[in-house]
């Protein structure tokens, strides 16, 4: 047995070991702290900053869109929405989360399930990004959320924009709409985006909004706010009132403005005409000297404003169930058979090819026999002796049937192409279709059969396989007006910064230059001028003394008829089977400033389309020369015209 002192002696030896252990522990501690605080300190500092600083997106305003006279077409209206930031939301206890969702749902009138669904949908995105729950809130809802904020962890009010078409329904197809990017679309969209889009961002989905997305879209800014673990802005006593953190914010860069070539007044005039007459259809007007698009209207239309804030399901159903297809852009995304407006092309082809000339006369007896089949003129009794000018203003089918017997379809189609038909005009809008101008190769390819000469007789009067878009028709008549130049239709005149600095001005772009002989142009122009001026002209009812316009009517069959039955029974048909009326025109003939194409659906005849075209022409000319085309001056011209007409008819007798 050891004595007490010896035993203590034994213990005291152990203190050496003890100090060694203590030293070891201290060494580990110091190393560890050095590692955490000094070696990796900067890294952890970053983590702490990411925790503390919340990025707040400052939404960049989208570029505005103005018409050629700087009338606002597309505007941004502020809206309030509500979002949940998962990072802060998930930091709360699960009962709190449940209560939050219920309370929020109660305020914004959404079921908790619906809110959860939105959150689930967005679960793949980074948790610091707010998930928009509802895009439009009333001011009362905003106030309630702000009041209850302390019991709603992770919930915040967001601001957004409501993209508003100032003129309501007018021009929505051309202007297009923006809407929120679907979560599934995001990766696809971001593949080409310079600045990546985030969940909840809007993007142009049609029309100019889509085409000029990168120009119109701004670059969102960022500011940093100090927040606590629940995402609440922290107002700790030491920095009361100073919620914005010490990192300088990155300002939002607004999108650029577009100044269009469109004239808002012409858009309104066109829409008025459609509404007044209860019509559906399309209007395109261009400046034949440079290809600027003056108006582009597809009717019926839709309210693009609805799309930017999330379309109401009932409105969406209304749009998609409507037989008249309001979402459909008839100006570039639909084609019609050009009907007799195509006789302009046929006449030019015949004259240029030397198949006919000013002296050519054809006797029209009301029908034409070819290949054992009888081809009827629209007028059963016939038009009598017809030259090329008369063939245009009376729209004599037989004259062209005769021409067709000597015309190769491939030659005819070449002239159609030279006048801009059957090819995309290249307008900077998404979704333009090319239409169809058939030739023998086309038929071989699409029908697997050779061209029958009889088919040329249909095509030459604008029927058969022919299909053209209203914008092509406008380009065609503009080309006749300017003597052979096809411009790419331009919608955007210039791009400017938010404060009005011009960044870029577009220039006329010639797609094709064809030289037609003066004689050809003279005869065709004279022929279509008579359409309005001549008392026998097919659109004489729309003749407006004082406005020297040239035009051509057309009728596009919706269903095939025997040609002698074309007009008689049309108005008796169910509306959807009635023919479309077309009219192409330009004015003034001596120095063309505007070329228009109008399609009025199911109106049976082009004479229904002509007043629309004339109304637009009149409006535009009045703006160009308010004195010459003033209402008084036009009234005077009308009086003079009838006086002259009276004297003429007296002398004739």
């Amino acid at each position: 047995m050891l004595g007490q002192n010896e035993q203590l002696q034994v213990f005291q030896d152990r203190f050496r070991v003890l100090y060694l252990i203590l030293f070891g522990v201290v060494a580990i501690l110091v190393t560890r702290l050095w590692y955490l605080q000094v070696f990796r300190g900067e890294e952890f500092k970053q983590f702490a900053e990411e925790n503390r600083l919340k990025k707040i997106k400052i939404e960049a305003p989208r570029g505005m869109v103005y018409d050629r006279n700087r009338q606002l077409l597309l505007d941004n209206h502020p809206t309030f929405g509500v979002a949940i930031t998962p990072q802060y939301f998930r930091a709360a206890r699960s009962e709190t989360r449940q209560a939050t969702i219920e309370k929020l749902g109660h305020i914004i009138r959404m079921t908790p399930d619906a809110i959860n669904e939105v959150l689930t949908k967005a679960r793949r995105q980074p948790s610091f990004q707010p998930v928009v729950i509802k895009k439009t809130l009333t001011m009362d809802e905003v106030a309630l959320i702000e009041m209850e904020k302390l019991s709603l962890p992770g919930v915040e009010v967001t601001t957004g924009i409501q993209r508003t078409n100032v003129n309501g329904l007018i021009g929505s197809h051309m202007l297009g709409y923006i809407s929120e990017i679907d979560g599934d679309e995001l990766p696809k969209v971001n593949r080409n985006a310079k600045v990546p889009y985030q969940q909840g961002d809007s993007i142009g989905k049609s029309g100019l909004e889509q085409q000029w997305e990168t120009t119109l879209r701004g670059d969102d800014g960022v500011e940093y706010v100090e927040v606590d673990a629940y995402g609440r802005k922290k107002l700790v006593p030491r920095q009361k009132g100073k919620v914005v953190a010490d990192i300088p914010p990155k300002p939002a860069i607004p999108g650029k403005n577009l100044i269009l070539t469109i004239d808002e007044d012409l858009e309104k005039t066109a829409a008025d005409e459609f509404v007044k007459r209860g019509l559906t259809g399309a209007v395109v007007a261009v400046d034949p000297t440079n290809g600027e698009v003056l108006t582009m209207l597809s009717w019926p239309s839709f309210d693009s404003t609805e799309f930017s804030v999330g379309i109401r399901p009932e409105y969406w159903r209304e749009l998609t169930n409507n037989e008249d297809k309001p979402l459909h852009d008839r100006t570039i995304n639909d084609h019609y058979s050009p009907g007799s407006t195509f006789k302009i092309v046929s006449a030019i082809a015949g004259l240029e090819e030397g198949l006919i000339n000013a002296q050519t006369q054809v006797m029209c007896g009301g029908s034409f026999k070819f290949g054992g089949r009888l081809f009827h003129d629209w007028k059963k009794e016939g038009h009598g002796l017809t030259d090329v000018i008369r063939s245009l203003y009376r729209s004599v089918d037989v004259f062209y049937y005769k021409l067709a017997t000597r015309m190769d379809i491939d030659v005819l189609s070449r002239y159609a192409h030279d006048l801009g038909l059957g090819v995309r005009t290249g307008i900077h809008l998404p979704g333009e279709i090319p239409g169809i101008v058939p030739d023998s190769a086309w038929k071989k390819k699409n029908m697997g059969a050779d061209w029958f000469p009889g088919e040329t007789l249909s095509v030459i009067i604008g029927q058969g396989y022919l299909n053209v878009t209203p914008i092509q028709l406008a380009n065609m008549i503009a080309t006749v007006a300017n003597g052979g130049t096809i411009f790419r239709p331009r919608l955007v005149h210039s791009i400017e910064t938010q404060d009005g600095k011009v960044l870029e001005t577009t220039k006329p772009e010639i797609i094709k230059q064809t030289h037609f002989s003066d004689e050809t142009l003279r005869l065709v122009r004279a022929g279509i001028q008579q359409v309005l001026e001549n008392q026998q002209g097919t659109a004489h009812a729309s003749f407006t003394p004082g406005i020297n316009a040239a035009g051509k009517t057309g009728t596009a069959q919706v269903i095939q008829f025997k040609s002698d039955a074309v007009y008689k029974s049309c108005m008796n048909l169910e509306r959807k089977y009635r023919h479309h009326g077309l009219f192409v025109a330009y004015a003034p003939v001596e120095n063309p400033k505007i070329a228009v194409s109008v399609v009025t659906e199911h109106s049976c005849h082009g004479t229904a389309a002509a007043p629309v075209a004339l109304a637009i022409i009149k409006k535009y000319l009045q703006k160009l020369d308010p004195i010459k085309y003033s209402d008084d001056a036009l009234k005077q011209a009308r009086i003079d015209y009838f006086k002259k007409g009276a004297t003429q008819s007296t002398t004739e007798e």
Partner: protein, 338 residues
């Protein structure tokens, strides 16, 4: 250091216990740091009343100081005499807790004593050191302790450990075990037993991990060792604590300027993660100062143990130092694991 010439370290004056002024100064500084740090940790707390905790803490320190001053007049040999009585009383209290204790967050730890509440398990940490010191003091003349010789002390430890675990309060039970274990090691366990226990542990731990532990318990161990395996769930606290400590960098963010704690990213910042608050605000330099103070305090304690002229004094002092180390180094567990 002890030498072969005899017992130079033993005090001539048996029975005197000089009040150690150095230790008092160190304690005073540590208390000041502690209270200030608690103030910072709870300063911007949203919880009702939490920002006043530091005042309560100061009151408790006052009570503690008065109690220590009272003990000054009691010779520690007197403590030796009352060791088993204290043990029995504490066991009684632990048992009482299980019957009439206040239940907070699913465990019974608190015993109401008039207006205040106490946790008998906290006293048990000291009582066990006290009791074991007494036991080993009385159990003279062994060179080594084998399993048979350790039977009784193990029983002495297991009773309170099981009672505490029943509350349940695993943390405190672990501290009692750790303090007792280190004391047993200190009195020298036979190498054979040490080897056997070591081998048994090596074999049992993986087997227990695989077959005995439940899924959620295994998950807890995984996140303890690697918080990144579940950064949003169980690992969240550890990660936020690491960020707090690391982001303090060399000089710290400054008093009451720790963003992790002030903005509530660091959970439980006035209890479990109080050290992280300190490290975030005072940096590596602050840590070194604190560590220096601790080392001073502990070596002071060890010096007392070393200088004791009987086995009870030495072992009790050692037990207190061991307890102190367990609590203060154990808390910042993150220091040892990533």
């Amino acid at each position: 250091m002890a030498t072969a010439t005899g017992t130079p370290a033993l005090r001539e004056e048996v029975g005197s216990s000089k009040y150690d002024l150095n230790a008092m100064w160190i304690m005073a500084i540590l208390v000041t740091i502690g209270v200030l740090n608690l103030h910072s940790a709870t300063y911007s707390s949203a919880q009702e009343g939490e920002s006043q905790f530091w005042k309560a803490q100061l009151v408790w320190f006052g009570i503690g100081a008065a109690f220590s001053a009272g003990l000054y007049f009691v010779h520690y040999r007197v403590l030796e005499r009352f060791a088993y009585f204290a043990y029995a009383f504490n066991i009684f209290l632990l048992a009482a807790v299980l019957v009439i204790g206040k239940s907070v967050l699913g465990s019974r730890r608190w015993l109401a004593l008039g207006p205040a509440s106490v946790q008998p398990s906290e006293f048990m940490k000291i009582t066990i050191a006290w009791t074991l010191a007494k036991y080993f003091h009385d159990d003279q003349g062994r060179e080594y302790y084998d399993l048979k010789a350790l039977m009784l002390p193990i029983l002495l430890v297991l009773v309170p450990v099981l009672l505490v675990m029943a509350q349940p309060d695993l943390g405190t039970a672990m501290i009692i075990l750790a303090v007792s274990g280190s004391m047993m090691l200190f009195v020298k366990v036979s190498p054979r037993l040490l080897l056997t226990v070591g081998l048994a542990a090596i074999i049992c731990i993986p087997v227990a991990y695989k077959f005995v532990l439940k899924d959620y318990q295994r998950q807890r161990i995984i996140t303890f060792l690697n918080p990144q395996s579940d950064p949003r769930g169980a690992g969240y606290n550890s990660i936020q604590s690491m960020i707090a400590v690391g982001s303090g960098q060399f000089l710290g963010k400054g008093f009451r300027k720790g963003t992790q704690s002030q903005l509530n990213f660091l959970p439980e910042h006035h209890t479990d993660f109080i050290f992280s608050v300190y490290a975030e605000e005072h940096g590596f330099v602050g840590f070194l100062i604190l560590l220096g103070l601790y080392i001073a305090l502990m070596s002071n304690g060890l010096k007392i143990a070393y200088g004791s002229n009987d086995k009870f004094g030495m072992l009790f002092a050692f037990g207190i130092v061991a307890l102190f180390s367990c609590i203060h180094f154990g808390i910042s567990k993150l220091v040892f694991f990533t």
